[in-house]
Amino acid sequence: MAANIVRKQISPAVGPTVRERLQAMDDSAVVTAFLGGEERAFSELVTRYQTRLLNFVYRTIGDREKAEDLVQEVFIRVYRHLHRFDRSKKFSTWVYTIASNLAKNELRNRSRNPLVLFQTVQKNFQDEDRPLQFEDTTSRPDDMYRKRHLREVVEESVAKLPEHHRHVFVLRELEGKSYEEIAEITECNLGTVKSRLNRARNSFAEIIAPYVD
């Protein structure tokens, strides 16, 4: 079954009708379709969530390569355990909870092994390793440099936030999750979420202020 998913994911020869039908469905219906034997539904879920999850994990852990690995791990877990997913709940919350736990584990492992942290940070700040495809190529070189510098500053500022603040901050500001969803994903109560978010916003504003004023 996995092999079929794989082939269909890579091959463009997916029936347009089925694909269109899947694209029109909400997450719950796509999950139902997959559990009902429609293997292409899994590709649809991957397509919907890969970029969102990648950005969420990347902003949380700050390592692009590792973020891709973790997002793949998320999809493997989804594939394995989708039959156990409680369909009365939101699929996106479930998938973000998996991603959030993996990101937290990654950060915990790093804190136990400072060498890994150092190597990761060092690699992250090497220019040749940083993705350039998101730059606006129509801008002048000095504008590009300024934008790139600003992006780096923003990323570094986010990375300076405490882990549990950053987590909530990214889920709210980048992913647009509601407080309730964040509470469910991070397994905290609503008051804690609000408090952490408020502190994270204030801290982030303080950290980044000298660079933007």
């Binding site: 092999a3 923003v154 990323e155 500001e173 980048l174 504003a205 980044i208």
Partner: protein, 181 residues
């Protein structure tokens, strides 16, 4: 509204989830308090920067790597399933063997116990209904000879020899019943 209240409600203010009257009070406080107004704009500007960070896209090999990992995971699942099934079968066989052994031991134990119990059983006395035949003594006029032959000899020559042998040396009265008892 004071600055503390403003700070407490700022989260909802930025997220635009305040009720109408609260919203008006917050806006009025900003227009009156320079410090809170600065803080508000600082946070809003910072959030704007963060929210406008360019999104990153999965790398070109992402789909292929995911495909390979999914296939590998699927194979591992199959392997694990087979192993679990075999282990379950083994466990069933082991349970069956254990139960059979236990049953056998129980049977042997109960048999030994029963043997122990029935060792001293007293059987009822046998009542003989047939009368003992009256054994009449063998009477011959001539003395008989009793002989024996080793097992290595053929029986018929021995029998003939015994029949034809002179019997005068033996006593004529020979009570078989007495000898056999």
């Amino acid at each position: 509204m004071d600055c503390r209240e403003f700070s407490e409600k700022h989260l909802a203010f930025v997220d635009d989830t305040l009720a109408g009257i609260e919203l008006v009070r917050m806006q009025r406080h900003i227009s009156e308090c320079e410090g809170c107004a600065k803080q508000d704009s600082k946070i809003r500007r910072a959030l704007l920067l963060f929210r406008n960070l360019p999104a990153i896209e999965p790398s070109t090999g992402f789909a292929e790597r995911l495909a390979a990992r999914l296939e590998e995971a699927h194979e591992n699942d199959l392997l694990r399933e087979t192993t679990t099934r075999n282990l379950r079968r083994g466990a069933v066989a082991a349970t069956f063997a254990t139960l059979a052994s236990a049953a056998m031991l129980a049977y042997i134990g109960s048999t030994l116990y029963q043997t122990e119990m029935t060792r001293d059983v007293v059987m009822p006395p046998v009542v003989a209904l047939a009368t003992e035949p009256d054994l009449s003594p063998i009477t011959t006029s001539t003395p008989a000879i009793v002989t024996s032959a080793s097992a290595g000899l053929a029986i018929w020559p021995v029998a003939l020899f015994a029949e034809e042998a002179p019997v005068r040396f033996a006593h004529s009265r020979f009570e078989l019943a007495k000898l056999s008892r």
